[in-house]
Amino acid sequence: MKRWVVMLATFALLATACTAGGGDTTASAIDTGSTASHAPVTLEIWGAWTGRELEQFNKIFDGFTAKYPWITVVSKGGVGDPKIIAAINSGTAPDVVLSFTLDSVGQFCESGAWQDLNPYIEQSGFDVAQFPPSVEAYTTFAGSRCAFPFLTDAYGLYYNTDMFDQAGITDPPTTLTELQDDAAKLTEFNSDGSIKRAGFVPWLGYYEFSVPNLGNIFGAKWYSDDGTQSVVATDPQWKAAFQWQHDFIAEVYGDGDFQTGADRLERFVAGAGDEFSTAHDMYTGRIAMNLDGEWRTAFLADEKPNLNYATAPFPLPDDQSDQYGRGQIGGTIIGLPKGSPHPAEAWLLLQFMATDTPTLVYMANNVRNVPTTLDSLQAPDLDVTPQFQTFLDIFADPNSHYKEPSAIGASDQNILQAFAARWEVGKQTDLDGGLADAAKQIDDQLAQAAI
């Protein structure tokens, strides 16, 4: 036993000695650019953009260099979070980083891997009111605002107007009761009882209909106000959300019987077309309504231009109809990594990317994401179709939000999704017990993260 302890200690010593520390190179005295010299500087930005989107993205730096001629920007695309994290850890971080992984914001901020921007904001007098208030919630964690938004996604309802006309439906549903009624009218069955066309598919994992989106529709909270405890078992909105899903499936697809509806819907969902191809169910007419992000407008314009469709905010529970117009938002984030070699100039680039209206409008028009400042939302040269305008309005809505960040990444979603997967097929019938188990598992994860 003693020999094992000695061996273990030796291993630990060796491994510790060989592990890169990734020293903290954060500028001790923050230079926010006002005093920066105009000596030529080359900044590096790493992000996950690829292909056509990367080409569009790389063009925005011309505007930055025109404004700050002594700064050159080198953009490296196709760099995902793992590589960025490894670079931060090894002390070779780039100047600015970009990430699509909103669920990691809690870990980025809490660990300091992405620098807290508050000192920069205070020293340079940066006006954060340029962003809608909802942005702060998904770019801040544990008192650290470690990210700025750079375009975002917003989720709403897509519906086939031809099918609506045929069914005699004139307006999109605004409440979940209306959604269910419309879905029932639009749903068609084959002679063997299987679903031929689904009005709306409230199946978790079906395209963008996810646990976070379901919770968002009901305004359900994930954590207590201090962020130390899961409330998925105690917030009544979660129970209401899953019960609504259960009843919807029973009524629309099961002639009142949940299991029949679940079995039919499971088989229908199994035959869904690929989300990012022309086999998408919205394209092929298998569904009449769907929850989706704003980017679908660009895909449809490109891949199915003759589809007659419209968009609207997603319907809300009847007792929350006064908030109609809100939805889930959240998208790309940018920040200064720990060890950013030129923090003063990087801060200039960060401000430019996050707030320069022509830049945001250019990206919104070409990549078809929602621009993220109040000014850019109103910009006259923003190329807005009626379908896309819906998502600009959703983003600007003060009640729109993303789930609360946490220190456990996407573990909370994985846990609740595991419960939901059993619930929606009828394998889990005890809703209260299932939610209580999920809450305990999330709390266990929180406790482990807090060690």
Partner: protein, 325 residues
Amino acid sequence: VAATVTTEQHVGPFAEAAAVPRRPRRRNVKRGLTVLLFMSPWIAGFIGLILYPMLSSLYFSFTKYSLLEDPKWIGTQNYSFMFTKDPFFWLAFRNTIWIILVGVPLRIVFGIFTAWLLTLPRAGSKTYRTLYFLPTMAPPAAAALAFVLIFNPGYGPINQLLQGIGMKSPPLWFYGPNSSKWGLVMLGLWGVGDAMIIFLAGLLDVPRQLYEAAEIEGANGRQKFRFVTLPMISPVIFFSLVIGVIDAFQYFTEAYITAGGRDHLGEPQGSTMVYGVRLFQEGFDNLHLGYAAAMAWVLFIIIMICTAVLIRTSDRWVHYQGGFR
């Protein structure tokens, strides 16, 4: 006495070697250094690519480590969390055991069967061998994607065929929790070429005279297979079993792809959440590198134990030609 010993040292089978004068110490050192020099590429590779990563991961397994921060020593908490609180650990373990208990034996049986088929044709055997082996050359990710399309319950040809012959509710395959693992097994059987080639070599290596002797004794085909073929290819079966079990514990790519990638790990309903997928999810999605390292070490120990058990029990059923072990 000393003189006697000296005399004895110069007689016997090693007398000539003993007669060679001792090499000076400096020459021995030089020779040792030369050997080391020639071995140095391997030594550097072993230390840098195997020993150090192993020691590091062992250390990390006792730490809270996210790559975002320096590792923090937390003792055995990763291990206790794994066994008592991780909601997906035992699910992943059970799914992996299922793959081992069902997938590995079926692969061996199917490998033997296809190898036996290849011993039958008198002409064109090389063409058949190539055809059967071809799937093995397909990258696992590409093969998995192809299977997802072929087995798609909505528009895949397999289910259309099954419906065409009258099956009302064909399996959902990779979209159903009861059928997804069977889909993975079929994917494994499709790529059985590597095992098949080994079994084919084993079958062709069975001495003909053993079959002739069995026939003289009146053995039928089944008895020849049971009492001649199987014992003679048992070393190959043993090899396939050990490799198959090790591979199955590390199963990842096919389960990852058929579930739908990073956003759908373990789907449907956790049925494809195998150990490797869970380890990846913790390490690279949730950034719990320390915990993932602990999972890797538990997996390593389990594989070691299983391999040791298989080797120990092989005495009872593996027969080597000439009795060598």
